[in-house]
């Protein structure tokens, strides 16, 4: 079974984010790393391919400047190969444009299953995987907390407000997985060494046969008009606990009449 995992390479979330003062796009110029949220999809793909008795796990990613460091992390975990779409004309692409690019690249891999995170950590638009499914004419099951392949269909436990739904879908299908559903493996030393020589196919917008006017800032039909500081919340009273700190919490709760 061939599985494609959509992965995003993002600026380190531990570092403070910034917007470009001119374009108001998120600055993605420095080193990028694999989005933590995507490690679950990669792990899930590896486990499902294993359980199905084999098949390739292919990564698909769109990133500026030919960035591959995040891809290498996922390749070190065990993915077989990667498709990277990197093109100057993609700067400023919105979520729908990103979905068009990813869908065109995914088609080339002819997967049985496409996995993605429910949303990225940096932009967190959360619509791209479903947009990819619609562009490819495929069913989708989002917010999966358990995924199982049986024959030519996928069985998913999908998160709901009340609990979960058991959902079945024919393959190929797009499935988004929530965090914490599997434990992503740490790349072994052997895996890291092997990842260096695994194939990463780098494609441009033209390679995918897409019209440059559909992507990048030219294709984006939404714009940021203003960025302003939010009203700051003033910080309150700080108590250093020396064994009696809890009594102050109780007083506070009493003042608020929740006790």
């Amino acid at each position: 079974m061939n599985v494609v995992v959509c992965v995003k390479q993002i600026p380190d979330p531990a570092a403070p984010g910034a917007l470009d003062p001119g374009t108001k796009n998120l600055v993605r110029a420095g080193k990028l790393i694999l989005d933590d949220s995507d490690a679950y999809g990669v792990e899930m793909a590896l486990q499902l391919a294993d359980a199905a008795g084999g098949g390739d796990v292919t990564l698909v990613s769109m990133a500026p400047n030919g960035e591959t460091s995040g891809l290498r992390t996922a390749l070190a975990m065990g993915a077989a190969k990667a498709i990277l779409i990197s093109d100057e004309s993609l700067a400023g692409t919105d979520a729908l444009g990103t979905a068009k690019v990813l869908a065109a690249a995914i088609k080339r891999a002819e997967p049985d299953l496409i996995l993605a995170a429910t949303e990225s950590t940096d932009g967190y638009t959360g619509t791209t995987p479903v947009q990819v499914a619609e562009l490819l004419g495929l069913p989708s099951v989002t917010f999966a907390k358990k995924v199982e392949i049986t024959g030519n269909s996928v069985k998913v436990e999908r998160q709901t407000e009340a609990g979960y739904d058991e959902v079945e879908s024919p393959l190929p299908a797009v499935v988004t997985v929530t965090a914490g559903v599997v434990e992503p493996r740490y790349p072994s030393f052997k895996g890291i060494m092997a990842a260096k020589s695994k194939p990463v196919e780098t494609l441009t917008v033209a390679d995918l046969g897409l019209d440059a006017g559909q992507v990048g800032s030219a294709g984006a039909r939404q714009e940021v008009t203003e960025v302003a500081d939010a009203e700051a919340r003033s910080s309150g009273e700080i108590v250093v606990d020396e064994g009696e700190g809890y009594t102050r919490v109780i007083e506070f709760l009493e003042q608020l009449k929740v006790l």
């Binding site: 979330p13 933590d36 959360g126 069913p139 979960y164 914490g180 039909r221 939404q222 008009t225």
Partner: protein, 323 residues
């Protein structure tokens, strides 16, 4: 482009429209023009009265989906209305599991982008203008659509207050979905309701959340116990959801639920921007963390610099003794 007609996705749970949909209907009313709703499922006719009370004139009823997930069929119904010229100028979706699915599919069908994580809306020259909280809510970004076509927004819960306007029951128009082919092939086989003691996370008056500072999975029991004693709900930071300690449904933050309780108690949570955006609008915030420099203290009304493993058991014991 003027906004004369706004549609709102009226999601129905337990026989009633969800609060976020009512919040969006209230907001849509203020933005001018006609407010109509799109609903699906087997209980839609019975919610027309409530929707009317909040200002909806017409409910476009997709009807029972026969076990299909809502994304494809509901998007197909809306797209068909747009194609027929009877569609809206703007569509507001609640940021729910199904709302996001429908918005994403609709975006492709109409070839229009979608703005998500909206926390505010106003009427502008070229249609609606949306506000988005970025970098942990420290900055507010304003965005708008360019080009023609319906404007699609996915709005976070509690961005607006829901207030009825006293309107008459809405008219219900049957709008069954066109054939969705392979895109609608995913089927719900069975539904599972998980037992919950106490209020829902996003409706609770008190929320007690735990983070990495708890040290290990078993310690989350302290959070549940304290939440129980305060008649509140138990939440979690992304770090411990990612680690598999608690299910995703407990997560508060950018990825997860937005909460605005009377009191939010953050225990062993450092206060990453990811978390702050989901809770910093709580009316009162108590933080317990051993790191005095943790960012959570910058938003706390009461900060206890201390070890959660000492403070929480003391707090729990004291509350038990009061009971």
């Amino acid at each position: 482009m003027s906004v004369d007609k706004i549609w709102v996705l009226a999601e129905v749970a337990d026989g009633a429209p969800i609060t976020t949909s009512l919040e969006l209907i209230t907001a849509a009313r203020e933005l001018g023009g006609t407010v109509e709703a799109v609903a699906y499922g087997d209980a839609t006719a019975s919610v027309a009265t409530t929707l009317g009370e909040y200002g909806v004139t017409t409910v476009h009823d997709v009807g029972d989906l026969g076990g299909a997930l809502p994304g494809a069929p509901v998007a197909a119904t809306i797209a068909a209305a747009v194609a027929a010229g009877s569609g809206p100028d703007a569509i507001l979706f609640p940021a729910t599991y199904d709302g996001r699915d429908i918005a994403g599919r609709l975006s492709v069908k109409l070839d229009r982008p979608v703005l998500t994580n909206v926390v505010g809306l106003s009427a502008g020259d070229g249609g609606l203008v949306s506000q988005h909280a970025i970098f942990g809510g420290s900055q507010i970004l304003t965005a708008r659509f360019t080009g023609d076509g319906p404007q699609i927004f996915v709005v976070r819960a509690k961005s607006f207050a829901a207030e009825p306007s006293g309107g008459p029951p809405a008219a219900v128009v049957a709008s069954p979905a066109p054939d969705t082919g392979a895109t609608g092939a995913a089927r719900i086989v069975s539904r599972h309701v998980e037992e919950r003691t106490g209020p829902k996370l996003d409706e609770a008056n008190v929320v007690v959340s735990g983070g990495r500072g708890l040290g290990e999975k078993d310690q989350y029991a302290l959070i549940e116990e304290l939440a129980g004693l305060l008649h509140g709900a138990a939440g979690a930071s992304r770090a411990i959801v990612d680690a598999g300690w608690v299910p995703y449904s407990h997560q508060v933050g950018q990825t997860g639920k937005t909460v605005k309780p009377t009191v939010y108690v953050a225990c062993g949570i450092s206060g990453a921007t990811q978390h702050l955006v989901g809770m910093k609008n709580s009316k009162n915030i108590v933080a317990i963390n051993k790191d005095q420099d943790a960012p959570i203290f910058s938003v706390a009304d009461l900060g206890i610099v201390g070890d959660v493993h000492k403070v929480l058991p003391q707090l729990i014991e004291a509350l038990k003794n009061r009971a």
